[in-house]
Homo-oligomer: 200 residues x 2
């Protein structure tokens, strides 16, 4: 691509390193910044630096936080006896958006995947086990991917938690709300029959 | 959307002001920055501020430039006697990418559009006319949109240039290279017949 000016070229190169943004989009964004007031660019730049330099990870659940403890862990109204185990920060957001869960979280930072070279030691499993032991945890809910890696991780953690008298569960798998049986894959439909809920 | 932390919330709000970027994409970009080294965010922020604060507009053609004159106007190898009139900076880029044009440009900054309240005075028309008069311009090529606004603008400038002995032309309209006649709209096909090129 022909470059208009070194300043634009540099900006396009950096912007296009962001995921899902190619050179053309980056160029469009650069021109947008040029058209907008200079205060916007300054604020954007400041906020990005602040985000990167000041964001911390909650020392208890490893979610992102403004301080040492995240908003969820610091909230006394949350059910302190239930921990939902998720892979990453996006999953916390997804579950929070349902407004159906009032317990705490534990962000593993991924799942056990020998192919990608991720073992239990690279994940926040030890801290989860010591958390369950130290606190008076009643239930651990797995909300991991339904993949071999997700199932392996859940199985591994379950074994580690054998000595603790804690209820262990996993989120329900089944036909989506509003989903048609005809178009649901066999595995999901099979699971929805096994995990059927009785009317009473 | 539930907010994890004030820092992320602020970043998502600012990022999602960019065109074509919604809250979800902004959140994904914020998480990407958190995963990357902090040097990347700092460099990105610096380059955006530099772009916004240091970019100038060429005093001759109004294209973006690092200094008072843009790279194209400053290049003595370009044909100084030909000026291609375009609406915006992206159009300069599009024509430059063809590598078929060796003359100079003139960026109007838009087209005359009474509906949007854009009159000739808001565009770089006066500077184009004085440029053509002052320099020894031989040809002015219009590369404007084929809309009523684009045609009006070309017509208005043509009238303003009446006194100058300058050749005025417009880029060819016709069937795209590789395009099928069957699927070409009538207006374009009609123009391609009127503007036919003889084999000799």
């Amino acid at each position: 691509m022909f470059s208009h000016a070194k300043l634009i070229e540099d900006a396009v190169n950096e912007i296009s390193k962001l995921p899902g943004i190619g050179k053309k989009t980056a160029f469009r964004l650069a021109l947008f910044l040029l058209k907008e007031k200079k205060e916007y660019t300054e604020k954007l730049a400041a906020v990005l630096c602040k985000l990167r330099l000041e964001t911390q990870y909650c020392k208890q659940c490893h979610n992102v936080a403004d301080s040492a403890t995240c908003r969820i862990c610091a909230n006394p109204q949350r059910d302190q006896a239930t921990i939902c185990v998720v892979e990453n920060i996006q999953d916390v957001l997804a579950i929070e958006n349902t407004t159906q869960y009032k317990g705490l979280y534990h962000v593993l930072g991924g799942v056990i995947s020998p192919i990608e070279g991720i073992g239990p030691d690279q994940l926040q499993i030890t801290s989860l086990v010591s958390r369950v032991k130290a606190e008076n945890t009643q239930e651990v809910i797995f909300a991991l991917s339904t993949t071999i890696e997700g199932d392996t991780t859940a199985f591994y953690i379950t074994k580690k938690l054998k000595d603790c008298s804690v209820k262990i569960s996993t989120i329900a798998r089944g036909v989506a709300v509003g989903g048609e049986l005809e178009y649901t894959d066999e595995v999901t439909l099979g699971r929805s029959i096994i995990g059927r809920v009785s009317y009473q």
